[in-house]
């Protein structure tokens, strides 16, 4: 192979991550900074197919679909961020608790995990959205409450493993407190796992948000969410306005895939032994 890029695997992986992050930041900023004028009703330009002026076409009110899509993605990433942070926090807390607070706590937490895995996620989300009357609050709480179990299991296993490691045993014998051990030994070791887990949670959170919003139980129809855009597009499908659904969904797919890639690349970076494939 010709050595075009004098980069080793580690550096290549880093470059991939950085490019992905730049892309996502651009989308977020785009959503915030884009000209709101483009999505005011403009009946003279409605229902136009994609063109150079309107890359993704316009809708039945003449709004620019590209602008709406970017805004929707930005909103999705925001909601996903809150949900993923919430979920990861619960996972960290319960995972650590299960691993360190004795058999009883472990059993209870594993029961709670089973509880959350027993009902299909989407049904739980609908139930929670229903209880909280839908909207932003309902969807964020629902997303937070449904995505932590798998990561909690990972963290529990990781903590268990570190706890039995020699250096922790030594610290224990030296009379260090539980807190000291948790902060000095355990946390530093699970931060990489937590970060990877968090990045891999993200795509699921975003997809579920879009799904619940699409079903009409998530963000309100006044928000420029991707789920709303797609559910509105259904009415216009039979009239052949394919661009209403095609581009926003494709962009959502790309954003979700990008998050997934960042997570996978982080895993390669931090845990190279598992990457023999």
């Amino acid at each position: 192979m010709i050595k075009k890029f004098p980069l080793n695997r580690k550096q290549r992986t880093l470059v991939k991550i950085i490019i992905s992050i730049i892309f996502l930041v651009t989308v977020i900023l785009g959503g915030v900074l884009l000209d709101e004028d483009k999505i005011v009703t403009n009946l003279s330009e409605r229902n136009s197919a994609p063109s150079l002026e309107h890359l993704f076409g316009t809708d039945w009110l003449g709004r620019d679909m590209f602008t709406r899509t970017v805004m929707g993605l930005s909103l999705s990433i925001g909601v996903g961020l809150i949900g993923a942070i919430g979920s990861a926090s619960i996972a960290l807390l319960l995972g650590m608790a299960a691993a360190t607070m004795g058999k009883m706590a472990d059993r209870i937490i594993s029961w709670v995990i089973d509880l959350f895995l027993s009902v299909p996620h989407l049904v739980t989300l609908i139930l929670i959205a229903f209880t909280l009357g839908g909207g932003f609050k309902g969807i964020v709480i629902g997303l937070t409450l449904t995505h932590w179990p798998s990561l909690a299991r990972v963290i529990r296993a990781e903590v268990m493993q570190i706890r039995s490691a020699e250096f922790v045993q030594v610290s224990q014998k030296m009379g260090k407190s539980r807190w000291w051990i948790a902060v000095h030994h355990i946390l530093p070791h699970i931060v990489p796992q937590l970060l990877i887990g968090f990045m891999l949670l993200f795509p699921h959170v975003i997809l579920h948000e879009a799904a619940v919003t699409f079903l009409g139980l998530g963000l309100s129809p006044h928000e420029p969410a991707i789920g709303i855009i797609l559910s509105e597009s259904m009415k216009y499908l039979s009239s052949g306005m394919w661009w209403l659904a095609f581009f926003p969904g494709l962009c959502l797919l790309i954003v979700v895939r990008t998050f997934d890639q960042i997570g996978e690349n982080l895993r390669v970076l931090m845990d190279p032994t598992r990457n023999h494939d």
Partner: protein
């Protein structure tokens, strides 16, 4: 005439350190052994010295990240990949180390039958089982139900049923009780006496001495001595290489002196004689270059000081 001849064999592995740096590990280097019909050759070496890879290299079943050089001849003809594909399992057979080499979800009888070449596989398998005192119920068992001795005999059966001319047995004795070991070894002897050849790869020099005709001593990926079993007597005066002597002396019935130090890792091999860092006889000369294998008193040795 040798039935199987390995000459100047080297095997190396590509791997990544820290997951990112590519490194070539040489696990076997310039190894030469020859196997005669009707003979048992024991390749003896410490655990983790890459002995199993020798077996895998001969049978051409090394993983894809391994590269191999040197020559392997079977019946005086180069064993190319294409030729190996026709001989593997027919003329050359492997007797692996443990029950893990049997498919956990397949009844052992069927597994032995898949090794049979032509003819009535079922009756061939039953005949071999009978010969090795494996009851009729065994053929319907799954590997996890076998005892250590039964597993060993089952693995041996796969080789027997194939009608191979050369058997390469990889660590056939560990974890077995002495009676079973004796039985397993005598099975190999019987096989060799019928005109076939056996390469016995083992770390157990004691059992090897009981049945082998020749001993090849394996150290850090290469052979350091090839000697007749008859040389292993008394204080080991007839033995050529210092490592072999040390191994002989380390046996409980002899002086029971362990060898200080440990084998070098394939990633940090010494530049000169591989054994020099642990050798009592080592001189500055030993560190200059790796000694060649040379003939000495009807045997072979890889040591400049050996007499």
């Amino acid at each position: 005439m040798s039935i199987l001849e390995v000459e100047n064999l080297s095997v190396s592995f590509k791997s990544y350190t820290d997951g990112f740096k590519e490194i070539n590990h040489k696990v076997i280097s310039s190894l030469s052994v020859a196997l005669e019909a009707g003979e048992i050759l024991a390749v003896v070496g410490a655990s983790g010295s890459g002995k199993s890879l020798l077996a895998h290299a001969i049978l051409g079943i090394l993983p894809s990240n391994a590269s191999i050089s040197g020559s392997i001849k079977y019946k005086d003809e180069e064993l190319t990949a294409a030729r190996l594909a026709t001989l593997r399992g027919k003329e050359l057979a492997l007797v692996p180390q443990s029950v893990n080499f049997l498919d956990p979800l397949m009844r052992v009888g069927s597994q032995v039958r898949t090794a049979a070449n032509g003819g009535d596989a079922v009756s061939a398998q039953r005949k071999v089982f009978e010969r090795y005192h494996l009851g009729k119920e065994v053929e319907n068992m799954y590997p996890f139900q076998l005892s250590g001795g039964m597993a060993r005999r089952t693995l041996l059966s796969t080789a027997m049923v194939s009608g191979a001319k050369v058997i390469i047995a990889d660590e056939p004795t560990p974890g077995l009780d002495p009676v079973v070991i004796k039985e397993a070894l005598s099975n190999f002897r019987e096989f060799a006496d019928n005109g076939c050849a056996v390469m016995l790869i083992t770390h157990d020099i004691e059992s090897a001495l009981q049945i082998a005709d020749k001993i090849a001593v394996f150290y850090a990926g290469t052979t350091v001595e090839i000697a007749s079993v008859k040389d292993f007597v008394g204080k080991g005066e007839a033995i050529r290489h210092p490592y072999t002597k040390a191994l002989w002396r380390a046996l409980p019935q002899n002086e029971f002196i362990p060898i200080p130090g440990s084998q070098p890792h394939p990633s940090s091999l010494p530049s000169g004689c591989l054994f020099a860092p642990r050798c009592e006889m080592a001189t500055p000369e030993c560190e200059q270059a790796q000694p060649e294998m040379r003939e000495l008193r009807d045997g072979m040795v890889r040591c400049i000081h050996a007499t």
